[in-house]
Symmetry: C2
Subunit: 170 residues, 2 copies
Amino acid sequence: MALGNDYREQNCFLARALEVVGERWTLMILRDCCYGVRHFSDLLAHLDISRAVLAERLDTLVDNGLLTRSRTGRQVEYQLTVAGKALWPTIFGLMSWGQKYLPADHPPRRFRHVTCAADLDDSGRCPDCGRVPEVADVETRPAVRRRAIDRDDPVAKALREPHRMLTPVP
Amino acid sequence: MALGNDYREQNCFLARALEVVGERWTLMILRDCCYGVRHFSDLLAHLDISRAVLAERLDTLVDNGLLTRSRTGRQVEYQLTVAGKALWPTIFGLMSWGQKYLPADHPPRRFRHVTCAADLDDSGRCPDCGRVPEVADVETRPAVRRRAIDRDDPVAKALREPHRMLTPVP
DNA sequence: CCAAGCAGTCTGGTCACAAGACCGATACTG
DNA sequence: CAGTATCGGTCTTGTGACCAGACTGCTTGG
């Protein structure tokens, strides 16, 4: 969060965490990685972020051990590490908080524990087995009523069908 | 998050949530409110934030229904609404994520469910009753080993003793 | 009335971000 | 092999956010 004062602070790990994931776009990037997005160009198209900022964010995520970077042919692949995957409950928590307490004009995307086939509750827990499932065991489905105006990048298109988290998209 | 593009996006409540709480300092302010901090000057001293930014953040938090503002005598009091309190699990989640996955040089502050007298686990759940307690039912205690250099504002001093969340501090 | 404390607002300089041009490395194509 | 497309960046320029600190205006106590 390198903006002058970087939350240097009293015994607080919230400040530490925000130095890594508190910058603009970072959580959105991680959300997409949870969906299974792995390529620079896909993130670019899906997020409407500037190239420079995306490159910088990916750098700090790799540096801090939330993503790995690897070359496969002409593409570069970004993948979540264990630390990165561990942020999923937080991301999900923010999402369902927003859905519950903020006015919005679009219906919510749904998330389901695949092994129990039950939709997650507000805190990301599966009502059937009572546990908070790993990202890998979650499937996401588009909202029930589709929004009128929809994005048109490859990632958005792929996510119009049910999709297992972390599996490659598009 | 009013920086040009404000995450205007496909069916995603994460973007919506980040527009409200994704800006620099916002989550730190809410954390302090969870601790029970209620006055402008206390936040100012505890966070080392600029006055202008603090005023702006408090404005948007009040506007979005996370805090209420009221005058009591010469002071102004900020208090968490239901929506604001509902963010506690997310804040706690980020904190324990940071504690688990980020290197740091200081020991963690502890949080305990008062009715069960048990320390919360990573996901903010009480291992005894198995539920995620409300903020109001949580007590925070300073880290076991005190850090060498410590802050010296009223809030920091108050939090050197065990403290029930949401009860006034300092 | 005066002084003090609190909660802001104002100002000037610095830094981050947006948008888009440009660059280099790696394939594919003829 | 040269030419070209694609991908993943870097560079540049303008705009807006943030920081530090001075200043203001309201409320209360003496």
